[in-house]
């Protein structure tokens, strides 16, 4: 369609950005392109795409940013376009909606008001004033506000209810705008990172998702990490994890300010920064307790604590080194790797499990028993701060309320005109309209007319 040339450029731009056609196009484009991001894997190496789609398509994917689609410039542009569209559309329509909301003119003859439901009745042996009063009573009972005007012996009435519900749409659209602002605030002033803290240690910095580190301004210490397991009906552990739990302490200048036990779904929150339990692992064992018997079954040492990497003397110049240890070797429990360095000959190493009594390993004439390991776990925490979240939640509340108002409530108006009829008696006319849900309104209006009818009969 060609715009008349006498419109200014600003006006034409406004019309373009406020048009429903644009919103339909943008909404469809958003829905359709969103599908790509769910079908094409996101955040993968270039080679993965080459492997899956071939070199050419992989290049297209990279150029269009389809590997991180929802953050690509064109997708973000579509989102911005939607917000601009909603803003302009609302600005364009709001004044009219406010006018309708506050409409209070009972005289409808010759006015451009759309009256959808109509009802008329001639009442004999009655006068205008009494009937008008009766109708006013009916309107007052069924609607919130009633306005009255008398002109040349004709009484006009307007009853209206729920005008404010016309604002529901604008609340809804405004909340979408809040989502945009909330996301922007989060992107500008928030961060997402992660950190692993071994038990007993503390950290001050976290690594950011996109690279780089962030200083928290305080310290977080992990005092303990624990995995709990489901038990079966007999109370035996089943090996299925029930929960991951970390005891955390927040330190400001070395002073403890907060202690909290966190678990999955229950984070620590301090100064707007959330610490979520997300993973765990072995920070490497520190030491193990070993008992070693000599070739003549003589005890060389009993439950002696060895540090990782430590070497001890046995007999005749033989030496034993603790090469590695773990709290859980392939699901079989604590284990160490020890190496015998004989005075003559090649070194040999074996793995020793923390076995039940009597189950010892032999190594070059010696017998080695593992009595226990001291392992250290680390807790893996996601760390996030998003100052946009309160704005997002405000938007959530508003969009819910707004769309409820917009869909379920309506602005109902009923006009009445009471005038002397040409053939004697009084003519009563009722007409109504509703901002939505006409079918329900039709029934409601019919009810109202029945009530009016009953009033006349009295």
């Amino acid at each position: 369609m060609k715009e008349p040339s006498n419109k200014g450029l600003g006006k034409r731009l406004f019309e373009f950005f406020a048009s429903i056609k644009l919103s339909v196009v943008v909404l469809i484009a958003l829905a359709a392109t969103s599908v790509f991001g769910t079908v094409i894997q996101q955040h993968r190496e270039f080679a993965v795409y080459v492997g899956e789609y071939g070199e050419t398509v992989a290049r297209v994917i990279r150029i269009l940013g389809l590997d991180d689609m929802y953050h690509s410039w064109w997708f973000q542009l579509l989102l911005v376009l939607l917000l601009v569209n909603i803003t302009f559309c609302s600005l364009k329509r709001l004044p009219h909606a406010v006018r309708l909301m506050n409409y209070r003119d009972p005289v409808f003859d010759g006015k451009p008001v759309a009256i959808h439901e109509k009802w008329a009745k001639r009442v004999k042996n009655a006068d205008v004033a009494t009937l008008a009063e009766a109708i006013e009573g009916v309107l007052r009972r069924r609607l919130r506000r009633v306005y009255r005007e008398e002109r040349d012996g004709v009484v006009y009435l307007l009853g209206t209810r729920g005008g404010w519900t016309r604002m529901g749409v604008y609340v809804t659209h405004f909340s979408l705008f809040l989502f945009g602002i909330g996301a922007l605030v989060g992107a500008l002033w928030g961060f997402k990172g992660f950190v692993n803290i071994p038990e007993g240690q503390s950290v001050r910095q976290v690594r950011l998702r996109g690279g780089g580190v962030k200083d928290l301004g305080f310290e977080v210490r992990c005092d303990d990490f624990e995995v709990t397991f489901y038990t079966d009906r007999q109370g035996r552990p089943t090996g299925r994890p029930r929960d991951y739990i970390s005891d955390l302490t927040v330190l400001e200048d070395g002073r403890e300010v907060l202690r909290k036990r966190i678990e999955v779904n229950h984070p620590l929150i301090y100064k707007g920064i959330y610490f979520y339990q997300s993973s765990y692992g072995q920070a490497g064992g520190q030491s193990a307790w070993l008992t070693v018997f000599g070739p003549r079954r003589n005890i060389l040492f009993h439950r002696r604590q060895l540090l990782r990497g430590e070497t001890v003397d046995l007999e005749n110049g033989d030496r034993l080194a603790l090469r590695g240890l773990t709290g859980d070797f392939k699901g079989m429990g604590p284990a160490v790797e020890v190496m015998l360095q004989p005075a003559k000959g090649d070194p040999r190493s074996i793995v020793v499990f923390q076995a039940p009594e009597g189950n010892h390993r032999k190594l070059g004439g010696y017998v080695i028993r593992l009595d226990g390991v001291e392992t250290v776990m680390y807790t893996g925490l996601q760390v996030a701060k998003d100052p946009g979240v309160p704005i997002i939640w405000t938007g959530c509340i508003l969009i819910t309320l707004g769309s409820m108002i917009a869909f379920f409530l309506s602005h109902r108006r009923v006009w009445a005109r009471v005038r002397p009829a040409d053939r004697g008696g009084v003519e009563v006319f009722l007409g109504g309209n509703a901002s939505r849900n006409r079918i329900a309104f039709e029934r409601w209006f019919a009810d109202l007319c029945t009530e009016a009818q009953e009033v006349f009969e009295k």
């Binding site: 429903i20 909404l27 469809i28 969103s34 999955v264 819910t400």
Partner: protein, 280 residues
């Protein structure tokens, strides 16, 4: 386990209710109508009991959770919600004929998971990520929304049938389905009920994700598809309110919307992968 036997009974009652409603469509006698409704209500009550029993059984097994956490549990809950929304609609609007198209959906919901050997009906312990009251809020709101859309879908299909008849024979054409105008209105009402519920479902999901993972939105396939679904139904409501669409085009939009619901729910679990796939 007793619960899956009860689900089996509910499933059979829904099937019988379907027959009851179909007979009612043809016969139009008060009695057949009552039989359909009676069977549907009985099925729903057994379905309710089955969910309660499963809850108790999960406590006995030592896991203790509200049964809404995997494909089996969510599908039987889906059936339950569909029938609940339908029975409320029947009570409020008094159109029983719709039951002939909705009750089979209730039946299918349970049948698909009970008769599919790939889906386990066993009570499994809940992984730590799912141990949250948010899960309940999220699943309940989503599925109530989905259920309302399911009713809207059934009514839209009826509309499309009825419309063909009316197009051929005129408005007062004899037929076993309610008038097209009524169906059009009921379909819209279902969507108008479903939309705020889906909105709440997405919001509770976002709230949970924010609380549990620190990100209210991460564009994972399930989230994205729920948003696509939401866009389609937003388009539906706009089309009706602002563009003044009625009838066939709108009915097709409701069918497409329900296709999106099914894809969000099933397709994403089986076709795509992502954060939510553990829930399958």
């Amino acid at each position: 386990m007793i619960n899956d036997k009860l689900f089996g009974i509910a499933m059979i009652l829904y099937l019988l209710a379907t027959f009851g409603y179909v007979v009612y469509l043809v016969h139009r006698s008060k009695v057949t109508g009552w039989i359909g409704t009676g069977l549907a209500l009985a099925g729903w009550l057994v379905n309710t009991a089955a969910i309660a029993v499963r809850w108790i059984e999960s406590h006995q097994a030592g896991y203790g959770y509200i049964p809404l956490s995997n494909m089996y549990e969510s599908m039987v809950f889906f059936s339950w919600s569909i029938m609940l929304i339908y029975l409320v609609f029947e009570r409020v609007y008094g159109y029983r004929a719709i039951g002939a198209f909705v009750a089979p959906l209730g039946f299918l919901g349970i049948a698909v998971v009970s008769l599919n050997p790939a889906i386990s009906a066993e009570i499994q312990p809940l992984v730590p990520a799912l141990q949250s009251n948010w899960l309940t809020a999220h699943v309940v709101t989503c599925f109530f929304g989905y259920a309302a859309f399911a009713v809207g879908f059934a009514v839209s299909i009826m509309y499309l049938f009825r419309h063909r008849t009316e197009a051929r024979l005129g408005k007062d054409a004899p037929g076993i389905l309610p008038p097209a105008k009524v169906l059009d209105d009921l379909a819209y009402k279902s969507v108008a009920v479903g939309f705020p519920l889906l909105t709440l479902g997405i919001l509770t999901g976002a709230a949970w994700a924010n609380y549990a993972w620190g990100t209210y939105w991460s564009w994972d396939p399930k989230e994205t598809w729920s948003l696509i679904t939401w866009f389609v139904y937003a388009a539906y409501l706009h089309a009706r309110f602002t563009a003044g669409w009625r009838g066939v085009r709108l009915a097709w939009l409701s069918v497409i919307g329900f296709g999106c619901v099914i894809f969000t729910y099933w397709g994403v679990n089986f076709v795509l992968s992502g954060l939510h796939s553990y829930a399958g």
